[in-house]
């Protein structure tokens, strides 16, 4: 079926044409079922979820369905709508006494996203242990105080966006306290070099030199943040979005991935990169601290 056919089908459903609802359910059944299987724990729950999703399209005079205008494929629209409905369904599980059931549902729903965010910020095969620790710490933070953080959602904005942003903030906190700039990484700890002698083992306390370097590192970061914020004010929306995407990863994000997220051609993303760098260089040169340094030499 073409998008035009799907649009006509949805119109027929809204007009309560005979058999239109039956045809619609059959048309989207596989998409809804796939979404339910992905986002629920087992077959029995998926069947319940399937009924809830179809009900979700039916209630309030096909309220959700009315939003479909044919600017996307119906599969995409239905998959994302099913995800929204299942997210609302999952929220209902976080009632008092929901216990393990609520968390299991949550993890099934967001586990892949949490892992993806962690993997992006902490890339590399050598960081597998750190990623696992991060996952554990984030999970504990989300569960603590009877899911206080999850229950803080007040229905404003996307629930998925709310949760994933919270996960990212918890991850940033984790990185801050477990990965100070000068601390040896797991890579160095796991290297195949011969073990150091007792005298060579680093002390837990930072040396005066380390403390100075860390201080310098913090100052550098603070300066970079200022320059970035200043530059961002003059950037176009697309350029600012590029910066947001680039700051989501621990490795430079490949242009094709940025292009995919921005739904723009890769060639355009390369040009975007170039423009952003030019603007940042310019902002950096104008920054008071840099001007002061230039004047002093």
């Amino acid at each position: 079926m073409t998008t035009a056919d799907d649009r006509a089908l949805v119109r027929d459903v809204l007009d309560a044409k005979p058999q239109a609802w039956d045809r619609f359910v059959r048309r989207v059944a596989d998409t809804v079922w796939t979404a339910c299987r992905l986002l629920t724990c087992d077959d029995a729950e998926a069947r319940d979820a399937f009924a809830d999703v179809i009900d979700g399209f039916h209630v309030d005079g096909f309220h959700r369905l009315r939003q479909f205008d044919g600017s996307s494929r119906i599969e995409t629209f239905v998959a994302l709508s099913a995800r929204d409905i299942l997210a609302e369904r999952m929220l209902r599980l976080f009632l008092p006494d929901s216990g393990v059931k609520g968390w299991t549902a949550f993890e099934r729903f967001f586990g892949a996203d949490i892992s993806r965010i962690i993997a992006r910020r902490l890339p590399g095969v050598d960081r597998e242990h750190i990623r696992q620790d991060a996952y554990q710490e984030i999970s504990v933070a989300l569960i603590s105080d009877d899911y206080r953080r999850l229950k803080a959602y007040r229905g404003i904005g996307s629930f998925t966006g709310f949760i994933l942003h919270m996960v990212d903030r918890l991850l940033i906190d984790f990185i801050r306290h477990t990965m100070p700039s000068r601390k040896p990484t797991v890579a160095t700890m796991l290297s195949t070099k011969p073990p150091p002698s007792w005298e060579e083992f680093p002390s837990d306390l930072p040396s005066p030199e380390d403390a100075l370097l860390e201080q310098e590192g913090d100052r550098l970061l603070s300066m970079a943040t200022q320059v970035l914020r200043q530059a961002a004010a003059d950037l176009t929306e697309a350029e600012r979005l590029y910066i947001h995407i680039a700051l989501g990863g621990g490795d430079p994000i490949p242009a094709r991935e940025v292009a995919r997220l921005m739904r723009r051609p890769v060639e355009e993303v390369y040009k975007l990169k170039q423009r952003v760098m030019d603007r940042l260089r310019s902002s950096l040169d104008k920054h008071p601290a840099v001007k002061t340094w230039r004047a002093s030499v």
Partner: protein, 230 residues
Amino acid sequence: MTPAPLHSLFERLFGGTDGAGRIDARHTAELAAGMEHGDPTKGELADNPERSTALLAAYLDGGLDDAAQQEVHARLSQSPARVHEVASADAFLEAMASAGATAPADLVTAIIARNRPATVSKLPPRRSFAIWKWSGVAVAVAVLAVLVIVGRQSVPTDTAVPVAVKSVPRSVADQMPHQVAKPQAPQRSSSPAMAPATSKENPPGQVTAPTKPSMAPEGFDVVPNNPVKR
């Protein structure tokens, strides 16, 4: 303070070519946190929150024109939460494409039966208006017809005056004696017909002839004034 370390940091963060070396995770984390202002979780992708999912689907399917896409970029650039949402939706659709499952037939049938609309749902305004308009016309015609009939049959208010008969029903047989067969008494059957015990039919042998032909029309003004001539 020299600009070199910052140049280097920005170069690796934003200008780095694909496959360039690792960036300090803490640097990007701090910068990402530092770029936030306001409440990054508030706000929707669309002005009308109910349109957010449809808009997201259109964005991911490449179904938006340039202006609409720029609008989405603007909203994404203001909120890291929305960027996460888009990335998550994109990953979900990819997982959907590779998982592709077929819904159990029994489940689909049961759900269809359960949700089948019993009544006509709310109709779009234009159609609704049309229905009301034609309903009104139909009612007006019906009222007019009733008034005409009542006018022709008007009953005198003075009950002492006898009702004037405007027309007397006449049988078709009277009007067209050559075209209508005259009633005849049914022939007696040699074998009695079976009839149920509760049947109101006359028992065999007690058949009474109808008092008038069953084909004769009743009422007034139904007999044509000019019978068809052969």
